[in-house]
């Protein structure tokens, strides 16, 4: 088995007095595509925010690439390859499409940036057509492509995706999942947070199920897809 790239141990995260994540264990190995599914409000986004340093854990640890991330300034993490596409995309609406992409490569200074930009434009031809437009003028689907392309500009080792299919038309949802699969095929390790459990489990090799701040199930995707509880609660099928 490949080495562990991300490891959460007893992770607890609070918002003031609200316990959003209640001591979870989770690991992602190098090269894996793992998904974290659960209902709205389960604590998935909070978990991702704690991984990338936006929130400080109340207890427990986040280890990335063998080192505890506590005390590492948040802006150092993308340089180490830990990159997140936040919930709601978080594009810079008043920057142009191309400036957004360059922001993704902010921590880099190597000569590969221009080449990577071309690569994003090949993957997302719409972005190339709109490179000089401000990003706020893009459609929802295009903004999601931009958010993903921007994250890829950082050359991530571990990509955290928070609900990339949220609010998109079915055709676009399928397209986004196809892109996720391609990114994984290029060797990027991915932790995918989704409410669309079926599609997430179909692309991921393993999955975690989160309920009110706790991990209640963890297994390979096929087993989760076959699990009656999962089928009932997350795949929209009646019991039995």
């Amino acid at each position: 088995m490949s080495p562990v790239l991300l490891e959460l141990r007893g992770l607890e995260v609070n918002y003031g007095g609200i316990r959003a994540v209640k001591g979870i264990d989770l690991e992602v190995r190098e090269g894996e595509l793992v998904c974290l599914i659960g209902a709205n409000g389960a604590g998935k986004s909070t978990t991702l925010r704690a991984i990338c340093g936006l929130l400080a854990p109340r207890a427990g640890s986040v280890r990335y690439s063998g080192a505890d991330t506590a005390g590492v300034p948040m802006h150092e993490l993308p340089r180490k390859g830990l990159v997140m596409v936040p919930e709601g995309r978080g594009i810079f609406a008043q920057l142009t499409v191309e400036e957004n992409l360059f922001m993704g490569a902010f921590t880099r200074s190597d000569i590969g940036i221009a080449q990577d930009l071309e690569h994003q434009y090949e993957t997302f031809p719409r972005l190339k057509e709109r490179r000089t437009q401000t990003a706020g003028t893009l459609s929802g689907g295009e903004q999601q492509m931009l958010a993903i392309g921007r994250a890829l500009m950082a050359r991530p080792r571990l990509l955290l995706l928070d609900e990339p299919s949220m609010g998109l038309a079915p055709r676009l949802v399928a397209k986004i999942f196809e892109i996720v699969r391609e990114i994984a095929a290029e060797g990027v390790t991915i932790l995918l947070v989704e409410q669309n459990a079926r599609l997430a489990l179909e692309v991921a090799s393993r999955g975690y199920v989160m309920e009110s701040g706790e991990i209640t199930l963890a297994d390979v995707s096929a087993a989760l897809l076959a699990n009656p509880k999962v089928r009932e609660a997350y795949l929209g099928e009646g019991a039995g």
């Binding site: 936006l54 948040m74 993308p78 360059f102 921590t107 921007r150």
Partner: protein, 318 residues
Amino acid sequence: MVNGLTLGAVYAIVALGYTMVYGIIQLINFAHGELVMIGAMVAFTVINLLAAAGMPPLAVVLIGTACAIPVCMLVGYAMERLAYRPLRQAPRLAPLITAIGVSIILQHLAMLVWSRNVMAFPQIIPLTSYSFLGAIVTGVQLTIVGLCFAMMAGLALLVYRTRLGTAMRATAQNPQVARLMGVDVNRVIAATFIIGAALGAVAGVMFGTYYGVAQYTMGSVLGLKAFAAAVLGGIGNVPGAMVGGLVLGVVEALGAGYIGELTDLCRYGLGPEARCADGGHFVLFGSNYQDVFAFVVLILVLVFRPSGLLGERVGDRA
């Protein structure tokens, strides 16, 4: 008109300091005017010393400015670091009140250092004037306008064409996501203060040189006018501050020129006869009301077009 353009260019440079800081942390840095004052005071001190030593005028002014810039940058940085950064998460009123406090503190410190007296600019610059498109332009005016435009162009390049500038705009729009991209937001904010302070220092020297005097209170009115200019252009908007400054300067100069004529009651046959006889005047508001225009403009903008001339929607960044 030329006078208005010159002052307007200086307002624009000062307004940039307000607008950049507002754009990035939504703080109206009321102490920015004091930075401009400190720039002028430091430069004047150095200039007077060097002029007394008989150095050539150009070198004197350049060295004076070169001393003012780092001092202001340091004060600007210290102000961000010590006064505003600890309040970054606080409700918006807290840093605003702090800004007023910083302004008062700096003004009084300046009073302690330089006393209440007006510092005069030594008579070292020869008064040359040129005729340009029918207007009489002095060398000082030309230099100020030229320098201001050069600084504006430089700043526009920095903001719109460099990595730091892109990071500044990204941080202004969404600091959380900028951090996700690996931007050290604290450094970007500090850089914004420092750049604004450097511009302010030069503006202070220019303003002081133009009027030939500098005093510890000069920052208040100049600062408020530049703030009005920033609001006029749309606060948070870099090109807006430039346009706002120039427009305000010209409005002010034209207003000052015509207000006497327009409020001359004799024109309307309303003045007392003793005064109006033989083409006399009875002026209600003379050109000493010049300063009022900035604030009339400010109020009009706030009432009719709060988003300013180059209107970025207010509340765009919640």
